[in-house]
Symmetry: D2
């Protein structure tokens, strides 16, 4: 085997922090600053989020993605509501039941082969509404980009929001990878606004960690009416950072000069490069090219373990011998080229 | 007024990170590392905690103090249990109801003028046990050092643990300021063990943030039987850091060569220095000297606002004109001397 | 000892059902009727509650008192709210933590020597409002008649409601013994309205069981805005009776021709009779006469067990040798006279 | 149309109480009895349940089916567990999210065309166990007879229990219609024991209401280790009847001389009779005959409303023009014959 890539393809959260982000933390470590958000770094971060999402929006900095989602949903559900999402939703399958514990509410999962909800699926829930025996569909949660690496167009999000609102529901967008979605859908702040605030989304979980922070996310209320209890709920779901300046400073670097979009665009490009370099290798089977920064190839079963030992990645669907390769903001062309070379090498010799 | 201190006396969480802690984060930002704790920094941190608390113990790294407490308690309560604590307990008054939300359990608060529970108070709850109309006292939570800056001796903790265990209860110690307590009670790891593992405490929330981290705490199970669900509960209460190496690296620096004890000993000494320099100033009334790093003087009401404008601190009990002055690991003698000078100046001229 | 009374003085829930209530159940057991409230008995009961509380009100039939309280509060709390009540409140001390489990919310208990809250106590909570570290006082729950057998005047309830509303809070009245309170405060429907709907109470738990039902309570929304989710929440807290006609039929009998007030007036009169017959017995110490249907005398310790063995009652405060004697709608003059005779007999011979 | 049946075919909970059950309530309404289960009727009922399920079992009387299920599950889940059930489970689709609210736990619903779980489905969840990102499959809940009117054989239940136990899970059986299942599977107490205690079920929700009570269910612990917190949890989920003697007296009548089995056997026979009388009517399409007391025919769409107006029943699957006809313990042969006659009449003339 050739030398392994310096960085593997396990996940975008295996990456470290972007150097500019780390520098911002170093710079913020000067003297004392009041805790819990009463500091100038936090003020600046909240301003930056208002610049992104408009003056009516309100952002809250939090620790992590599960926490952001739980906080958002906890301010959106009314008594006896349930949260509608896909069977692939991170909130439903990868958060250990955190939403159910914190909300005391049901997650109503709907089938979704591409991890995307459709307006007709929401309409099909209308018969539950107003019936005392059923948890009430009150919140829709979608993920952008999705857990399967797919994307909603801005029009698709708008159609979902219109349907949801017409049924008295509100819409949450889990944007753990909103940067990758933004990069893929135009690469501008305006592109991001088109599938969030302009589309009618009520609350966004804005991902920072996968985009290059040490750790940090934000819950952004585009519908300010839902924000009235947010400050208290953040504390209540264990998401109020004490020395908040250090979360804020990271975001200030990330949001500066579109660093978040640039990093994600690079990650997406590296996935595309990997796809191009491996799509023709006999034995590597793709359903299609990547929309964002993940690939889900099927491989001959006997090569998976040797390949993984050489350069780590996760299984996806063991029954299909499907794996996941994921790039990050710091994946290099050299990493991709070496990885593609190794794949080619192993498959030629298997 | 003389020049204000460089660092105010608002809180130990107004301090930044210790330089060695920050350097450890910088050093950990090399390449990729698997998320959620499958990295070498986390392995090292868990080893360090085992060194502290013994080989039977098990530590879990988390984001923040409220999260640590909630996670700990969520693994300790049985169905229908309540958590017994003082009326001053941080979990009862300063966590926005986070425990009640996450646990669905009552916090039974008992009166405690010095923020310390006594065994007799536990025994007085025996009549509730076994009666179907009452939430069942099942967990005791004490704070060391307490919210009022007082300390339990190791014997006092042991007596509480003995009583609790004899009643079928388990004991949680909220150690948000366990470093300050350790420094005050001997300044050695053995001192810390005397009031935790040796005293019979079951689970400790081990504070990192106030001791000099950017942010990070640990839940340490001294009673390993209570740890069986801890891994899942951590995720469920939003306390599983994604890029965990950056939390672990901070702890590795903090726990290295007793940095946590040294920093806290310094903070305690600075509070003592402030006490010595101000106890004789007419108008400054203390109930006594500091046990750890906080002072709660009563002041003439007319000087409080001018003094606060010059160098910030928080009110404590407005009705008594009582305020709180708190030192941190990075408070300097110069900070203390300037602050004492300002106090003297203002009181002389008031 | 003389012969014991036919009915003891343990509690009003030791009584059975009023014969007219039982007859109504017998009469309702004819043929089929749709479940969950779609039956004519339920329609009639809801009409009767509207007659009591006014056309804007909305009633929901439920199983039991704890369920009624939990349902009411679950529709009243906003995210991160806490419920303010006295240290004696049934919801805080006698419901096994049911509110905390169902609501995920803190109960903030305030000292109250006579089990009554005062407006100044609410005002003293204002400093918690808007501060992110504290559960937010959002609901006040008072009990009428109280757990100590005391009463709020209509003016006192109105003052509490005015203060609560001015602070953005809503008011729940636990009326497990609302019949006894009504009988004591005038004995008319108008008297009951004076301390509920006219006083500004938002939601009432209307007690049926202690007033003579087999089992059944109602949650009555005087503030209809709080009722929008009530139907779903009732089911969610396990309080939706399947064959609801049998709960409704009981209420139809109880609310007919003021049977509920008449029964409670009789119970109150029997307590007063017991007080008059025993107040002068040496060794029986009262703080005062009964406001409703309970007495809390202190007795010489050596007579308590013999007396209890002869005719059962519960302890109240063991440390003071205080017991509770309670009358019910079916307590007879003969029961009272025999009990008083036995007390006199035992104390003369002790 | 011929005259409509005296009793419709809407549901078994549209029936009233069995006359012997009502008489038992009348008989129990004598004098005072201590509340909350300290009465002789409750003692007798608990004895009767031990006779049914064995001396190691422990029964708790409760109000209603949702409450019984929630109480059972609340004593079975460990922290971070989820409850595995079918997509048709009453707990998942017809309890308004009550389990999620009370447990704070996820319900993991699995596809099940006949509403029955299979051991292989449990085994397929093994990959979730021990992984910190996933709620932990810890409890299996099955329904007997199922929501689709199907039955598990005793062997099928035993196989599920064996698989569940081997995976560290415990098994709950929702027996809202356990009487109908018992009648169908042999009609003896031993038959019932074969698919519960002998099969390895841990906890049973034992249905009383649909079997002929005014209202009342029982939670029966066959695994006594799970009962240690049951008493407190019952109160906590609002399921502790105050005047418990009236629930107990109903059960004493129902369990006397197998009245519960005889009533259910009759209901089952009436469903069979209806099936026999209607299976050959052109336009009435069955998938097969009834296993218990419900039929799910598809009908020509234009006859459904006229037929329902004449004699009420509920829709089942509107998209297939499928309805549900259900018999009860008190359905008469005359009811069935008239209903079949009406169906024949309408379909001949449509």
């Amino acid at each position: 085997m050739p030398p392994a890539p310096e960085r593997a393809f396990a996940s975008d959260n295996a990456a470290g922090a972007h150097p500019e982000v780390l520098q911002a933390v170093i710079d913020a470590n000067r003297g004392h600053a009041l805790a819990y958000g009463s500091d100038r770094w936090t003020s600046e971060a909240l301003d930056r989020f208002r610049d992104l999402f408009g003056p009516q929006s309100e952002a809250f900095l939090v620790w992590n993605g599960t926490g952001a989602n739980v906080m958002a949903l906890a301010t959106m559900v009314r008594p006896a509501d349930c949260v509608v999402c896909t069977e692939w939703a991170h909130i439903a399958v990868d958060e250990a039941g955190a939403p159910e514990r914190a909300l005391g509410a049901k997650l109503l999962t709907l089938p979704a082969p591409t991890a995307k909800l459709e307006p007709a699926q929401l309409r099909s829930l209308a018969h539950l509404q107003g019936v005392q025996h059923h948890a009430q569909p009150g919140v829709v949660s979608i993920t952008q980009s999705t857990e399967l690496g797919t994307l909603y167009s801005a029009d698709e999000v708008a159609a979902l929001c219109d349907t949801a609102h017409s049924m008295g529901m509100v819409v949450h967008l889990d944007g753990a990878r909103i940067a990758n979605a933004t990069a893929a859908l135009g690469g501008t702040v305006q592109a991001m606004r088109s599938f969030t605030v302009d589309a009618g989304v009520d609350v966004v979980s804005f991902g920072g960690t996968k985009a290059g922070l040490l750790g940090g996310e934000a819950v952004v209320y585009l519908n300010p009416q839902l924000a009235t209890r947010a400050m208290f709920v953040r504390k209540q779901v264990n998401q109020l950072p004490s020395k908040m300046r250090f979360v804020a400073a990271q975001f200030n670097a990330l949001l500066h000069d579109d660093l978040w979009i640039r990093g994600a665009a690079h990650a997406n490009a590296m996935a595309q490069r990997l796809y191009e370099l491996t799509r023709d290798i006999p034995g590597v089977q793709y359903d299609g090219g990547p929309a964002v920064n993940s690939l889900f190839p099927c491989l001959p079963p006997e090569v998976i373990e040797p390949l993984r030992e050489w350069c780590f990645f996760w299984d996806w669907d063991v029954s299909r011998h499907q794996v996941r390769w994921m790039t990050a903001f710091d994946t290099t062309e050299d990493d991709v080229d070496r990885f593609a070379g190794g794949i080619r090498h192993i498959l030629k010799n298997s």
